[in-house]
Symmetry: C2
Subunit: 374 residues, 2 copies
């Protein structure tokens, strides 16, 4: 375990909390850069944000990305990435990276088996793989991510209270094993709060996990198919009791509406594949809602996707050109739509932060949604 006195590489400063709600603006400092919160993290599952060169993300001033331990462990494997000098060097990205623990992916597999030791599952080429708390941290330390996530069980929804209780107790024992394996002070470890949709168990988890005095904490298990109402319920009673002086991260969220919701409750960080996945399918996010670029009415539409957007796509190309690229199966279409969607999400977080600092987050949210959902 890395003692508190050796954690000076990582810092969270709470800059301002909105006077009218829980929304907060903060600054996370890591050895590889500063992250202004609230922040949305694009997902680079295989050590690559799909269809985007790192330089495109740098130009957009994306301060942090997420990558997946489960996938990188299978291919190319931690040994090669370590030999390459870590994930940053391997993928040509020198700003912060957060890696998940692999737990979420493992628990979405059908043939998994969970024991006290860890999780057993079959890799895509049929090999038996065991992922344990120690192994997850070892892999994340090979990757050299700036923020590592503790290995937990992401409980599927719905779950019984009895199962949830058993699971969170094991997750807490796993957390201590993660903490014991954490040996690099340049990397920070975040704990994860589970507890399914049971308020009392979420509270217990906050108590238990936050007693470990870690650099940051995440709310897990809210994007496993329970829908936005349950997600809001869980966040609404969990976020306010989490420590104020640590970053709060909700994993795997989401749509612009979801982001505004979690930010209102004082969440600082989130990640999701939605902006890049939707982009590849031709769905673009704008202030007036989603725009389907493949629709035939885009054919002669010479406006940019979002008239006042400052991204490379909107400054240089029309909807008509993007539609043409999708019609012609040109991969440049996915490159340019991904660029816009990532820029849109990042800009949304920047605007939210500005509003929080001015104590007008609720107005900002209402105004945004009234145009976005019209």
């Amino acid at each position: 375990m890395i003692q508190q006195e050796n954690r000076s590489h990582f810092k969270f400063e709470l800059v301002h909390t909105d006077r009218n709600c829980g929304a907060r603006a903060g600054i996370i400092t890591t050895p590889r850069g500063v992250i202004e919160t609230p922040i949305f993290m694009p997902v680079g599952t295989h050590g690559a944000i799909k269809a985007l060169q790192p330089q495109v993300l740098e130009e957009m001033k994306i301060p942090i990305i997420l990558s997946n331990t489960y996938h990188l462990n299978l291919s190319p494997g931690p040994a090669i990435i370590k030999k390459a000098g870590g994930l940053h060097k391997f993928m040509g990205w020198n700003k912060p990276i957060l890696t998940d623990s692999g737990g979420f992916q493992v628990f979405s597999l059908k043939d998994r088996k969970i024991t006290e030791e860890g999780a057993q599952f079959k890799s895509p080429d049929g090999e038996q793989v065991v992922l344990t708390p120690e192994k997850s941290i070892e892999i994340q330390q090979c990757l050299g991510s700036d923020i590592m996530m503790a290995f937990d069980e992401c409980i599927p929804h719905p779950a019984t209270k009895q199962y949830t209780k058993k699971s969170i107790q094991r997750t807490h024992r796993w957390l201590d094993r993660c903490i014991n394996s954490w040996s690099n002070p340049q990397q920070s470890l975040f704990g994860i709060i589970q507890g399914s949709s049971f308020e009392q168990l979420r509270e217990e988890c906050v108590q238990e996990v936050c007693s470990r005095d870690l650099p940051g904490y995440a709310i897990g298990g809210v994007s496993v198919g329970e829908g936005p109402e349950l997600m809001e319920q869980v966040v609404s009673y969990t976020a306010p009791i989490m420590p104020k002086d640590r970053p709060r991260y909700v994993m795997g969220v989401g749509n612009p509406e979801d982001l505004l919701m979690i930010w209102e409750y004082g969440i600082d960080m989130s990640d999701c594949i939605i902006p890049t996945k939707f982009a590849r399918g031709g769905t673009l996010f704008t202030n007036r809602g989603k725009l389907r670029i493949r629709h035939r009415k885009m054919r002669g539409d010479l406006y940019p996707v979002e008239p006042n957007c400052n991204c490379y796509t909107c400054k240089n190309f029309s909807r008509s050109y993007l539609k043409h690229l999708f019609d012609a199966n040109e991969v440049l279409g996915a490159i340019l739509t991904s660029t816009h969607n990532i820029a849109f999400y990042n800009h949304l977080a920047r605007r939210a932060r500005q509003a929080i600092i001015q104590d007008r987050f609720l107005d900002f949210k209402r105004e945004f949604l009234s145009r976005y959902q019209q």
Copy 2:
């Protein structure tokens, strides 16, 4: 027709001819930029260089690209591109564009019918389309390309002398109809020399086509499957008798070996899909030959594709990472390999030009090939 006195927008200056062979260094000046020759033009069939944003090409200082009239005519159609302000604006590229005439694509279709009027064929959605010299120039004038190509018949190989004779005479009548339709002095028209593999007919074509006093001339029909020996034969007896004071363009060539061959005979321009097509398949061009990035020996290879290459890919990524991207089906793999291959071809042309100016093109060619083919 645009009279000679109104063609000041386009200029070709022959800077130097190598003392020991036909290789030449020149400068083409167009309203949208200057092109140092010899030059290789990347192909953007649908108004997009596959997998590359225009800014990537700008960073690599690519001075000119090619786009295909046939494809853009079918989709999105010249009306939309004209409404968008021309192809440059539509595709976000403000440097010179050369458009072919559509002839090459039409004549590779099975169900074509050639008459004095033009070529009839079926579009992919079954519609009857007629492409005539007037129509081809009209489309190219809607696109607003800097260099337009005359509409010709690209004679398949092998062809009889009798057929070739009949075809070139029609192509010359078509050339005059192209010239008569050419009305924008900002755009330049190049004539095309056909004649299959008959030296006497190629000579006749040079006489006929070059008597039209056009801004530039192309050798057509040398990349229709006749192999490198015939290609060299045709270029060897055609290039030297073409006017010295006009750019000479060989269409659809090719491999690095082919480029060195045509440059030796005094060709100034060429284009080919090879660098981008091979890149998407995982084949990279290097000074030591082709490198197959999907090969398992690339797995742990932490060198860049080409150690001294200055491209974004080689400066930031290893072979191991590129192999990983291909293994993971990440489109970023194709983006980064396309970047390198285009940079390699462009750099090869730059190096050749330097060698020509120093009268050492033949040495350069020999040295390059001895490493490339080892």
